[in-house]
C-alpha cells in the first residue's frame, strides 16, 4: 500500500475560533494507482494532501506514506515522494534548468546526474529547448509541466499533484492529462486533487469524493456513477396532453425515480436506462402515443456529487468560512 491513512484530522485556528478543515479521513492508495481527490474548493483536499506530504502536521490521526511513518519519519517520506503544489515551484526570474538542478541537489542527487535527468525529463514532458529559459517566459502549460519535472527529478515512487490543470486552457489540459497518464507507465503512483469532474473522470482509476472535510464516497468512476444515480432518460412527446399517461407508465417501471414532467417532456432516472428502453417504448407505442424523441444520458460525477452532498459541484460556491480554511492551509 502506497498510502494508508487513518483518522486524519486537521484543525486550523482562525479569528473566529478553530475550524476543522479535515474531520477524520481514512484512505488507502495502492501501488501504481491514479487516485483523485474530488471536491469543491474548501472541502479539505489540499489540507489532506499537505498533511500526507509532510507540509503540515495532522492534529490527530496516523498515516504511512511510501512505506514511512508520517509522524516518526517525515524526512523518509520526503525522500520518496514528489509534490507538485498548486502555487507552482519555480521563481519567475530564475532559469528553468537551474531551478530543476538545485531542487534535485537538495534531494542529494549529484549535479551531473541532476542535469542529465533534468534534460531527459524536459524531453519527456515536451519542454524541448527550454532548459536555459527564464521561468516567466514559459506558457502556463509549460510552467505546469516544469513543476512536474521538479516533482519528478528525484524519481519518487509517489507523486502528489495539487489541482494540476487549474488555470490551463482546454488544449493544455488534455495535453497534461496525457503526461500524467504517462507517469504511471514509469511505475509511479499518483494522488491528485481536482475540482474538475471531467478531470477526475478522464484520469483516475479511483476517486475519493470529499466534502466538508470528510470522504463521502469512494470508488471507480463507473461504479460511483452506477451506484448513485442511474441513467437519465428524457422522452419528448410532441403533445403535452399525453404527458399524464406516459408519466403513469414510467412510474410503474421498477427502479424509476425522480419522474418529472415539463410540458411535453417526461424525464426520470433509472438504473441501466439503455436496457429498459425497448420494452418501455413498446408499451408507449401500444397505447397509441407518439414519441418525438428519446434521450438517455449516462450519469456524470456531478450527479454523484449532487446525490452525496445535496449540492452541485458546478456551483462551486464557497462560504467565507471555507475560503478562510483554505487560506489558512
Amino acid at each position: 500500500m502506497m498510502i494508508e491513512a487513518r483518522g486524519l484530522v486537521r484543525t486550523f485556528k482562525t479569528k473566529r475560533g478553530p475550524v476543522q478543515a479535515v474531520q477524520g479521513v481514512d484512505l488507502n492508495v495502492a501501488d501504481g494507482e491514479i487516485v483523485g481527490f474530488l471536491g469543491p474548493n474548501g472541502a479539505g483536499k489540499t489540507t489532506t494532501m499537505r498533511m500526507l506530504a509532510t507540509l503540515i502536521k495532522p492534529t490527530s490521526g496516523t498515516a504511512t506514506v511510501a512505506g514511512c511513518d508520517l509522524a516518526k519519519d517525515p524526512v523518509g517520506v520526503r525522500r520518496r515522494i514528489g509534490y507538485v503544489p498548486q502555487s507552482g515551484s519555480t521563481l519567475p526570474e530564475a532559469i528553468a534548468g537551474d531551478e530543476v538542478v538545485d531542487h534535485a541537489r537538495l534531494y542529494g542527487v549529484d549535479k551531473k546526474r541532476a542535469i542529465a535527468d533534468g534534460r531527459r525529463l524536459f524531453e519527456e514532458l515536451d519542454l524541448p529547448g527550454l532548459w536555459r529559459r527564464q521561468c516567466k517566459t514559459l506558457s502556463g502549460g509549460q510552467r505546469r509541466r516544469l513543476d512536474i519535472v521538479m516533482g519528478l527529478i528525484h524519481d519518487p515512487k509517489l507523486i502528489f499533484l495539487d489541482e494540476p490543470t487549474t488555470g490551463l486552457d482546454p488544449q493544455a489540459r488534455a495535453n497534461l492529462w496525457e503526461h500524467i497518464r504517462g507517469l504511471r507507465e514509469r511505475g509511479a503512483t499518483i494522488f491528485l486533487t481536482t475540482h474538475y469532474l471531467d478531470e477526475a473522470d478522464a484520469l483516475c482509476d479511483r476517486i475519493l469524493v470529499i466534502d466538508h472535510g470528510r470522504i463521502v464516497a469512494a470508488g471507480k468512476p463507473e461504479e460511483l456513477k452506477q451506484q448513485v444515480s442511474g441513467d437519465g432518460v428524457r422522452l419528448s412527446l410532441g403533445d403535452a396532453e399525453n404527458a399524464p399517461a406516459v408519466t403513469k407508465i414510467v412510474e410503474e417501471l421498477p427502479g424509476a425515480v425522480a419522474v418529472e414532467t415539463d410540458g411535453d417532456v417526461v424525464g426520470f432516472r433509472i438504473p441501466k436506462g439503455g436496457s429498459v428502453l425497448p420494452s418501455l417504448l413498446r408499451t408507449i407505442d401500444a397505447q397509441g402515443i407518439e414519441l418525438n424523441g428519446v434521450e438517455v444520458h449516462r450519469p456524470t460525477l456531478d450527479d454523484v456529487f449532487l446525490t452525496m452532498t445535496g449540492r452541485s459541484l458546478r456551483d462551486d460556491s464557497e462560504t467565507p468560512a471555507e475560503a478562510q480554511k483554505e487560506a489558512a492551509a
Partner: protein
C-alpha cells in the same frame, strides 16, 4: 516491503552541503539581477557624498576630541546602517519566493530547514560585505584613514549584523506572508533604530535624556564599538561592548529565524 534505512536525522555535513546549494542558488539570482544590490548601496553613497562633508568642520566637536578625521566618525555609522537596512528588507524577496511556491517546493525536499534559511542569509551577508568594502574603498579618496585590523573586525561586525537582520526579516516575512504587513512593520522599526543608534551623529553630543534613551538600542553600542575600531582602539571597552552586543544579537536573530523555518506552517 523493503527494509528502510533508519532515519536520517541530519548529519552536519549534509546541512553544510545543503546550505551551500541554497546559497549558490540565491547568489546566482542576486547576480542575475544586481539592480537591488546597487540600489541598496546608493543610499549610503549619497550620505557619504552629500552629508559627510558637512561633518568635516565639526569633527572634533562631535567626536569629543577623539579624532579629527570626520570619516572615522561617519563611515562606521554608514556601514552599520548598510548592515542593518541592507538586510532588513530581504524578507520581501522571500515573500516573492513564497508566492511563486519555491518555499513550499524547498520544504518538501529532505533538506534541513536550517539550511534553507542559512543559505539565503549567507547570500545576504556576502552581498553586504561586498557593498561595505566598496563603500570603504570609495571613502578613502574622500579622506577616510583607519587601521586595517580595526576595519577588518568592523566588517565582521557588519556581517554578523547582516545575518541578524536578514534572519529576522525572513522570519517576519514567513509569518506574515504579506508585503503589506511587512513594509509598515519594517519601517516602524527602522526609523527609531536609525535615530536612536547614533548612526548619523554620535549620541554623546545629545542631551542626557536622549543619551539614556539611546542606551536601550543595542545598535548604538555596536556603532560606538565600530567607531572605536576605526580609531584603532581595538581593546577598548567600547569596541568590546560592541562585539558583545552584535554577537548576542546574532545568536538571537539566528535562533528566531531557525525556529520559524522549522515551524510547520512557515
Amino acid at each position: 516491503m523493503t527494509v528502510q534505512t533508519l532515519t536520517p536525522t541530519h548529519r552536519p555535513g549534509s546541512v553544510l552541503r545543503e546550505t551551500w546549494i541554497v546559497f549558490n542558488r540565491a547568489m546566482r539570482l542576486s547576480l542575475r539581477n544586481p539592480m537591488w544590490s546597487i540600489l541598496m548601496l546608493s543610499q549610503p553613497l549619497m550620505y557619504l557624498f552629500l552629508f559627510g562633508p558637512l561633518l568635516k568642520p565639526i569633527t572634533a566637536q562631535i567626536s569629543q576630541g577623539a579624532t579629527t578625521n570626520a570619516y572615522q566618525v561617519f563611515i562606521p555609522g554608514l556601514i552599520v546602517q548598510l548592515g542593518m537596512f541592507g538586510a532588513m528588507f530581504v524578507g520581501f524577496g522571500l515573500i516573492a519566493e513564497y508566492r511563486a511556491g519555491v518555499i513550499e517546493a524547498d520544504r518538501v525536499t529532505p533538506a534541513s530547514r536550517i539550511a534553507l534559511m542559512a543559505g539565503r542569509v549567507l547570500r545576504d551577508v556576502v552581498v553586504l560585505v561586498v557593498q561595505s568594502i566598496l563603500l570603504l574603498v570609495v571613502s578613502i579618496p574622500m579622506g577616510l584613514r583607519a587601521p586595517w585590523d580595526g576595519v577588518l573586525l568592523s566588517l565582521v561586525i557588519v556581517a554578523l549584523l547582516g545575518a541578524t537582520f536578514a534572519s529576522l526579516s525572513y522570519s517576519v516575512a514567513l509569518i506574515t506572508k504579506s508585503e503589506d504587513a511587512l513594509a509598515p512593520l519594517l519601517n516602524g522599526i527602522a526609523m527609531p533604530l536609525l535615530l536612536l543608534s547614533g548612526i548619523l551623529l554620535p549620541m554623546q553630543i545629545g542631551p542626557t535624556w536622549l543619551q539614556r534613551l539611546s542606551d536601550i538600542s543595542p545598535l548604538k553600542h555596536v556603532v560606538n564599538g565600530v567607531r572605536a575600531l576605526f580609531r584603532g582602539d581595538i581593546g577598548s571597552s567600547a569596541s568590546l561592548w560592541g562585539l558583545f552586543w552584535v554577537v548576542l544579537l546574532t545568536v538571537i536573530g539566528l535562533a528566531v529565524g531557525a525556529r520559524t523555518f522549522r515551524k510547520e506552517s512557515a
